[in-house]
């Protein structure tokens, strides 16, 4: 493993001051489940590793008075899964957090690390996109809040600058009559990286079967996790029926721009988007007890 220096700030101020002053690359370390293997394999060679787990703001897991979830960037997946409240209000987040690695990995891996690592296949990203999450970023000039939709830039790249730190992820309160589902395709059941991941999220109108809003997000089929906005637009305001879901799924597949790599070919991936979009939308309706 390449050599580096290690620092563990205990406050956000310390961390920011360190980021401001220090020469050479500083990599924040949350659970390290991406970072440490990357350093070991020589894919990253930071001069500094900054352990962010002792910064209080990054360890929050609480709901505010409005019902929004504030999820500290370093909170391990295991804590998210263990929270009944998260399971009740944001089942979609719980589903995706439960998929990452095995239990040992989930005891360390954070949602913050998952998105900061910038992998197009990051399992929590489609869920966060569907849930309308925002990121709170500590910059040298103060906090910045922006939608998670603007967070990703390309494979392994986010919009964070090297002087910034992701502090928390905020998920707005879940509207009534909403449900989400995430499915990913992996050759193995567990301990695998998604060939394709699709999250769907359906909000029904106050009464009846009409869909007030639908969100569909895709992982591992573009340089970043993306929303399938055309498919979403097709569904919003309509009563979801099998034919419509089929059509939306085809649209979503068209919105994907996958590549061929060792995990799957472009056309297989595009096909999977269609299958998984159909299945996740159907599952949403099932959990909302809507008959098709």
């Amino acid at each position: 493993m390449n050599d580096f220096k290690y620092i563990r700030p205990t406050s956000l101020e310390q961390a920011l001051a360190f980021l401001a002053q220090t020469d050479g690359e500083v990599r924040p370390l949350a659970g390290g489940t991406d970072l440490i293997p990357q350093i070991r394999e020589g894919r990253k060679a930071p001069a500094w590793v900054m352990d962010i787990k002792s910064i209080p703001e990054l360890n929050r897991l609480e709901f505010d008075v409005n019902g929004a979830l504030h999820l500290g960037a370093a909170v391990p997946c295991a804590d998210i899964i263990a929270s009944d409240e998260v399971g009740k209000r944001f089942d979609l987040l719980r589903q995706t957090a439960s998929l990452i690695g095995g239990m040992q990995i989930r005891n360390r891996a954070s949602v913050g690390g998952n998105i900061c690592n910038g992998a197009p296949s990051a399992d929590t990203a489609p869920a966060l996109l569907c849930l309308g999450a925002s990121v709170h970023v500590a910059t040298q000039k103060g906090m910045r809040k922006s939608p998670v939709d603007d967070f990703f830039r390309g494979p392994g790249e986010t919009r964070l600058s090297s002087r910034e730190l992701l502090v928390e992820i905020e998920i707005p309160p879940a509207p009534p009559r909403s449900a989400g589902c995430y499915l990913r395709m992996t050759p193995r059941e567990e301990m695998d990286i998604a060939i394709v991941g699709v999250a769907s999220y359906v909000v029904l109108a106050a009464r009846g079967k009409r869909c007030k809003e639908a969100r569909i997000s895709l992982g591992a089929v573009a340089p970043t996790p993306i929303r399938a906005k055309k498919a979403e637009a097709l569904l919003s305001g309509k009563t979801l029926e099998a034919g419509l879901i089929e059509e939306a799924s085809r649209l979503a597949a068209g919105e994907a721009s996958p590549i061929t790599d060792i995990r799957g070919s472009a056309d297989y991936r595009r096909h999977l988007v269609e299958v998984l979009t159909r299945r996740t939308l159907t599952a949403c309706l099932q959990s909302l007890r809507v008959e098709m």
């Binding site: 493993m1 050599d3 290690y6 590793v49 360390r108 395709m185 301990m191 695998d192």
Partner: protein
């Protein structure tokens, strides 16, 4: 590098430790604190072998920085049991046989412990989910899951009768306690004072000329004590060169492969090796080595490599064998043919003829323990070039005598100067029969005068330790309407990687060996490419061939309108039929086995209806396939010594990968007719016993078991003489039974083993040591049939296994728990080969050298592997036993392919049957 002090509580004790930022928790636990129970299988969070509890939560200690753990509390396997009292969970692993090599076991037990603390009464599915992050390559998870469930629900251990013969009983493993408490010392656990750590610089190219290699800067780094390149390896002795072609591994090729000289021939081939005072320094030193490569064209795909215009792996390689020998160099190392009868005539008599081609990829044995060795060359006696002092090597090997032979041949050291001590071994499956790192350790130790250790990383294991051959196999078979096979023609092309020596012949013969073929012809091609050099993998060559032949037999059965089992019954070989090569089969149990399958609900019953309600895209199907393995014998020696108290100590020359010590002990106990508790057994080293080949080819219980049997008989014969002298009768007058020597037809109590033991040591009779050895014995072929129910998702191509049943003729189940473990572990390796495993190359460069992208099954990918044991005693094996280890890996790929066919009407002819490949096949593209 700035060190700092951390305070860490480990198993209740507080330590102040000086750590470097890049030290992992795993390194600190193992290297600083000597807690070797925590294992490193991958270093990347992918295998779970390094699991420890941090503040009660399981984490992968290989990807936790030591610096992060300041103030934390860690529990390792050593801290789990209190004193000598095992936890019920640990006891359950012993009772249920929840481990084989035991390398994964500490991590699994810690994980299970943490899980059960929170979920005291879990379901099977929950346990599988909880253990998904812990790979086990040996057990197939069946007994692991059952052990955890039993511990949770307080189930009683499987019954074991007290008294009576040891054979046939589920005796606990002799090494059980060491394996479940983390005390067992594996290759990487060896540490000697003053030891250096060496790292190998490896080729990033599949084929390149080394234009320049400069170690000056590396050698100048502080802490670097020595280095070796290909040029430093001494030349082979002429007699070794002369004998090379006759060896299982051609020694000349082996010698060339150790470190590249002018050219690198595959990704990961060693180029230089550096020894330093610590692993970090050795790693830094590699970065300072200057190598200039000139990339050369790559012979990648095996069929391309056979073409006349392909780049040549060896410019001087001429095709050997029965084909028209050309004097043009080629990548085809040999073409061998074998046959019987007139194939064309057989096809003319056939009503159904099918011809198809099947393909498999390169796969890895996937043992969890990376290769590890330590060598110590006697400093006082070494320096003169070509002159050697004593050399001791500790290594995780399947065969220490074979390892010594190779080492001495490769480095021109006299055999008597070298002692090889086998450590506990964390799986091998054929992949630890060849010395790779040991010669490098020896050379470096000789050079530096200090002990030198090499432990490979997982990436190195994938690149440079001898995976299993990829193959392209074309089968043409014909049968008459009555369902009888008339002829078979097979072309078996096996990719050997960078040097010749694929197991093509072993594979082809065992592939067709289960069937009575009046006319057949097989052509076997051994082809070199710029890939890692292949080595044995469980039933070498057979799984590839069985995938082809057994898929083909399924198609034949269908074309003939016959049930797949019935078709095989009509063509199954029986005693007296010729084996390939025309010697007759002795007693075999294939017919018995097929009868059992034909009548078994796993074959005749309904597929579990669950999948019927899962929507139109989910299709269920059932498939079956067979497999056979002739069984290796080779050379074995054992000793049985009578102790002063009448107990017996057995020593054998075969390392124990799977519990063979226990099985061999059972053979010894029954041969003496004494309780198993009165026998001890140990694996010797090369200085303390006669030559034995390694534990491979399913030979240990069969061949070494026979040697143990003979050693015990020899001791008994000697003791009869002793008893006769003491009782003043002729030796023929002495009867021996259950530990007592009596004069025939006499009512006198006679002399017990204990009496004779006492006399041997304290009454002047002298010690008694029985010897048993053999080097030739008829093999005992083993047969298996597997039945699998699958569910195919037509939309995604994903295949799920619903139910799996393995039937096998084992001759005599010496220890049913161990036998079932072999069947389950082999089946699971075969399942991985079938569905998800395979090397992916890009121009010869390996794309997936990790457990993340080389996908071995996890606990969530396989169901319980039900086992059905058939016992058709072998004529010559100890108590009728046959070798059981190899054959269960052969049937799964074809069984699953056949099940997919029954589910979807589409036949997969290429492995792995990954979701995408199945999806494409379903779409006809």
């Amino acid at each position: 590098m700035k060190s700092k002090t951390i305070s860490l509580v480990v198993n209740g004790d507080t330590h102040q430790l000086f750590v470097q930022p890049r030290d992992t928790l795993l390194q600190v636990l193992r290297d600083t604190l000597g807690l070797i129970g925590t294992k490193e299988g991958c270093g990347n969070g992918n295998c779970g072998a390094c699991t420890v509890l941090m503040d009660g939560r399981p984490v992968n200690s290989c990807i936790v920085l030591a610096g992060e753990t300041d103030g934390r509390s860690i529990t390792t396997i050593e801290g789990l049991s209190k004193g000598s009292q095992l936890l019920p969970l640990q006891q359950a692993f012993i009772d249920y046989g929840g481990f084989q090599c035991g390398f994964c076991t500490p991590g699994i037990i810690l994980m299970a412990r943490a899980f059960l603390d929170r979920h005291p009464s879990p379901t099977e599915a929950e346990v599988r989910q909880a253990l998904a992050g812990n790979l086990c390559r040996c057990t197939g998870y069946d007994k692991v899951i059952k052990a955890v469930l039993a511990a949770a629900h307080g189930d009683k251990a499987p019954s074991r009768s007290s008294g009576g013969p040891a054979i046939g009983q589920r005796l606990p493993r002799v090494d059980a306690a060491a394996k479940v408490t983390g005390q067992a010392a594996f290759g990487a656990d060896m540490r000697l004072p003053g030891m250096l750590y060496a790292k190998v610089l490896r080729s990033p190219h599949a084929h390149a000329r080394i234009k320049r290699l400069d170690l000056t800067k590396a050698l100048a780094l502080e802490g670097v004590k020595g280095a070796v390149t290909g040029a430093d390896i001494p030349p082979l002795r002429p007699e070794v060169v002369a004998a090379a072609g006759n060896m299982y591994v051609n020694t000349v090729d082996h010698w060339k492969s150790l470190l590249a000289r002018d050219r690198v021939l595959h990704i990961g081939q060693g180029v230089a090796v550096v020894a330093a005072t610590g692993p970090h320094i050795a790693e830094e030193a590699l970065k300072l080595i200057e190598v200039e490569y000139e990339p050369l064209p790559v012979a990648g795909d095996v069929l391309e490599a056979m073409k006349p215009d392909s780049p040549l792996v060896h410019p001087d390689l001429l095709t050997s064998g029965t084909a028209e020998n050309s004097d043009r160099p080629s990548n085809v190392a040999s073409v061998l043919e074998m046959g019987h009868g007139d194939v064309e005539a057989g096809f003319r008599e056939s009503d159904v003829i099918i011809e198809e081609t099947y393909r498999t990829q390169m796969v890895h044995q996937g043992y969890l323990e990376p290769q590890a060795a330590v060598a110590s060359a006697d400093a006082a006696a070494c320096p003169e070039p070509g002159e050697w002092g004593r050399v001791t090597v500790w290594t995780s090997t399947q065969g220490h005598f074979d390892a010594r032979q190779s080492l001495c041949d490769l480095l021109s050291i006299p055999l008597s100067n070298v002692k090889v001590v086998p450590t506990e071994i964390g799986g091998g499956f054929g992949g630890k029969m060849t010395v790779w790192i040991e010669p490098l350790c020896v050379l470096l130790s000789q050079r530096t005068g200090r002990p030198v250790k090499i432990v490979l990383t997982r990436e190195e294991v994938f690149q440079a330790t001898g995976p299993g051959s990829p193959a392209v196999i074309t089968i043409k078979a014909g049968a008459a309407k009555d369902g009888k096979l008339k002829a078979l023609a097979g072309k078996f092309i096996y990719d050997a990687g960078a040097y010749p020596g694929s197991p093509v012949m072993a594979g082809a013969t065992s592939g067709i060996g289960a069937y009575r073929l009046p006319n057949y012809k097989i052509e076997c091609y051994d082809v070199v490419t710029n890939k890692p050099w292949v080595k044995a993998y469980r039933a070498p060559g057979t799984t590839q061939a069985a995938f082809a032949v057994e898929s083909h037999m399924d198609a034949m059965a269908e074309a003939l309108g016959l049930d797949a089992v019935e078709f095989r019954r009509r063509n199954a070989v029986a005693e007296g039929d010729p084996m390939p090569g025309d010697r007759p089969y002795n007693r075999i149990g294939f017919g018995l086995l097929l009868d059992k399958v034909a009548a078994h609900p796993a074959w005749t019953g309904e597929i579990d209806g669950a999948s019927r309600n899962k929507g139109p895209s989910i299709r269920p199907g059932r498939g079956m396939a067979c497999g056979m393995w002739f069984g290796a014998v080779l050379t074995s020696s054992a000793q049985a010594a009578l102790n002063g108290d009448g107990s017996v100590s057995v020593s054998v020359g075969t390392p124990d990968l799977t519990g063979t010590r226990t099985g061999l002990l059972q053979v010894a106990a029954d041969t003496f007719g004494i309780p198993a508790g009165r026998v001890s057994i140990a694996v010797n080293d090369t200085d303390s016993g006669g030559f034995s080949d390694g534990s491979a080819g399913s030979r240990t219980i069969y061949s070494m078991g026979t040697a143990v049997f003979r050693a015990c008989q020899d001791a008994i014969a000697q003791l009869k003489g002793r008893a006769a002298a003491r009782l003043r009768v002729d030796a023929e007058k002495i009867d021996y039974e259950k530990g007592v020597f009596k004069v025939k037809d006499s009512a006198e109590p006679g002399l017990s083993l204990a009496d004779l033991g006492k006399m041997s040591l304290w009454r002047g009779d002298g010690p008694v040591v029985g010897h048993g050895s053999l080097t030739r014995m008829a093999p005992a072929p083993g047969f298996a049939a597997h039945v699998v129910d699958v569910e195919v998702d037509r939309d995604t191509g994903k295949v799920k296994l619903l139910k799996y049943t393995a039937f096998q003729d084992v001759g005599r189940a010496v220890n049913p728990t161990l036998v079932e473990g072999q069947m389950q572990g082999g089946a699971t390796q075969g399942i991985g080969w079938a569905l998800s495993e395979g090397y992916v190359f890009d121009n010869g460069v390996l794309q997936n050298p990790s457990f993340m992208d080389y996908r071995m099954p996890t606990a969530t990918d396989v169901p319980f592997i039900d086992t059905e044991i058939v016992e058709a005693p072998s004529p010559d094996g100890p108590y009728g036993a046959r070798g059981v280890g190899e054959v269960p890996i052969a049937p799964p790929p074809a069984a699953i392919a056949n099940a997919i066919y029954r589910a979807t009407g589409v036949r997969l002819r290429e492995l792995p049957m990954s979701p995408e490949r199945v999806y494409r096949a379903l779409r006809g593209k």
